[in-house]
Amino acid sequence: MELLLVFLIGVLYAAGVYLILRRSMVKLLLGIMLFGNATNILIFLLGNIVKGKPPIIGADFKVFQDIYADPIPQALILTAIVISFGLTAFAIVLLKRVYALINSDDLDDLNTPEEEDI
């Protein structure tokens, strides 16, 4: 399981970097999303995956008797997913607006000369 996740993280990071380096805005966005997902899985992996051991102390004990699945990484990932959901939603709308304005998906077309109306 761990090994599988390690490869998955590697592929996601690599694909993310590749897409971010492309000139297309949509690919930039997809790259950022893959990057974020790779990070989430990395946190999940680093929190030591334990199967079938919920972090609940038995009724007769005061402390944990066995190793247990750490709930904190999952809480972190949940927070990170929600945040990246919001950011991605904003980014999609922004890129759609930019596309409507400059009629191009190319990041190099973003350099219109300075204008003076604020």
Binding site: L46, T79, E114, I118
Partner: protein
């Protein structure tokens, strides 16, 4: 010592923002609420600073969970000083926005978002939990995205794409660093991380994690190879927004760098060298960028980058003296940079342009305002006895003591280029005769006296703070020295948080 009132500043801004949402599209009410909210924020920040200055570090455990397990808020002198400066900058920007921001932007929720941004800034300064710091950073960037794009002009959206991409990337790097750090130590509390990190046997892994934090915060604070998003986006939003961004957002990155690299990671020789190289390159590239810009806000954007290097260099020297200088510079910089962008907004009101070639003759038309602006830009350049002069003396002393000659040279070049571009700015905008072939659009003239006051008073307020910092440098030095001692000697912080 536990004091549950330290998050007052956060709550006040949250409450203000929510109240303003109730008064959606009632722009007059929103303006009054905004200034009132910022005023209460300022009062509460002064109270916090006063209390921390007299009683030492205050903490608050969220939901009463004990320190390493729950989220903890910590107000040490560094945090409370920055909260105070944020409050001063906040109230100035809020007053300026009342006339400096168009009604169309206010209708789409400029003020609530501004207060959410202020809330995020205060939270980031006060938190003592590294993941909570990440969450506050996200609050800051999502608010700043909205502020940057509000209005939807072409240039704004184009700037926002770069800003958005780089900032989301920075957050991802930061999050990766947090994930690895948690995997290594099993803790997220900064004080407990400070104890756990030196115990890790594989210090190479710690150094790699530190690099993730450096890249994440480096993008946010616009350090040398990662600063390109700043000059290509900060000139696009309205000046009041740019003032908040220029004065405070990059400084949150600096704050986080100082916090993380003094408390959690202790830089080794390689890290210090990296910081010095980054500082030198940031100063030089920022300074040379400023040389060729004609738009005054682009010029100021490059000056932000240039002066970020001064503070990073102070961190790279890593002596108490150097950090004192860097903290003093941070205090001075927040005031002056916010003010510079407000001034840019005022100039735009006076002349309807921000292009140096099209400007001119402001001194002849408005001598009093020009004099006020002169005080601010003299502080920026560091003419003694104004505020930019003293921190540079400290940085000089520290870099001579550590024999970092490149950094000395960079400070010199940075200061001289700043002087040159500011002299050019002064001559072009204020002394030069107004161009004949350009039509001057003087919006300022037609405003009522009250509205004129709303534009000038915030600049006056911040200029007087700058003058106070300069003339009363002894007090600021005392505060900076105490901050620097607190940063270098982490035991009191850890004791205050963990209670042992």
């Amino acid at each position: 010592m536990i004091d549950n009132l330290i998050i007052n500043t956060v709550l006040i801004h949250l409450f203000t923002a929510i109240t303003q949402l109730i008064f959606w599209r009632k722009t007059v009410t929103q303006r009054i609420l905004s200034v009132a909210g910022c005023f209460f924020g300022l009062v509460s920040a002064i109270r916090l600073f006063y209390k921390v200055y007299n009683q030492g570090i205050l903490t608050m455990n969220a939901a009463n969970w004990d320190a390493p397990f729950g989220i903890v808020f910590v107000a040490d002198l560094f945090s409370s000083t920055l909260v105070l400066l944020t409050a001063i900058a906040g109230i100035s920007v809020s007053i300026f926005s009342a006339t400096g921001i168009g009604r169309a932007r206010m209708l789409y929720g400029y003020f609530p978002i501004f207060h959410f941004l202020m809330m995020g800034l205060n939270g980031a300064f006060l938190t003592g939990d590294i993941f909570n710091l990440y969450v506050w950073f996200e609050v800051i960037i999502i608010s700043s995205f909205v502020l940057m794009t509000l209005g939807g002009r072409k240039a704004q959206l184009e700037g926002a794409v770069k800003y958005m991409a780089m900032n989301i990337l920075a957050s991802t790097f930061f999050l990766t660093g947090i994930g690895i750090l948690y995997g290594l130590t099993g803790s997220l509390n900064m004080a407990s991380l400070a104890l756990e990190v030196p115990k890790i046997s594989n210090q190479a892994l710690i150094n790699i994690t530190a690099m993730f934090f450096l890249i994440g915060f480096g993008i946010k604070s616009a350090v040398f190879p990662l600063y390109f998003w700043l000059p290509s986006s900060y000139h696009t939003p309205p000046s009041a927004v740019a003032a908040t961004f220029g004065g405070l957002l990059t400084k949150v990155g600096i704050y986080a760098l100082f916090r993380v690299f003094t408390l959690i990671f202790t830089p080794d020789e390689f890290m210090k060298g990296t910081f010095i190289v980054l500082a030198v390159m940031t100063i030089l590239t920022g300074a040379f960028g400023a040389l060729i810009k004609d738009n005054i806000r682009r010029l100021f954007s490059y000056l932000i980058v240039c002066h970020i290097g001064f503070m990073i260099g102070g961190l790279g020297l890593y002596t108490t003296l150097a950090i004192t200088g860097a903290i003093f510079y941070l205090i001075h910089d927040i005031m002056v940079k916010t003010n510079l962008f407000l001034i840019a907004g005022l100039i735009r009101q006076l002349r309807g342009s921000m292009h140096m070639g099209k400007l001119g003759g402001i001194y002849a038309a408005y001598p009093k305002i020009s004099l006020l602006i002169a005080v601010v830009i003299f502080s920026l350049v560091g003419i003694p006895p104004l505020s930019g002069f003293w921190p540079k003396i400290y940085l000089f002393n520290a870099s001579f003591a550590s024999q970092q000659w490149f950094y000395v040279a960079a400070i010199l070049i940075g200061s001289i280029v700043t002087l040159y571009v500011i002299a050019k700015f002064w001559a072009q905008v204020f002394w030069k005769d107004a161009c004949d072939d350009e039509i001057i659009v003087d919006n300022f003239q037609n405003l009522s006296k009250f509205k004129k006051g709303l534009l000038v008073v915030p600049i006056l307020l911040m200029a007087s703070v700058s003058v106070y910092i300069g003339l009363n440098a002894e007090v600021i030095i005392q505060v900076s020295t105490r901050i620097s001692n607190e940063l270098m000697e982490k035991t009191p912080y850890i004791q205050a948080v963990l209670g042992t």
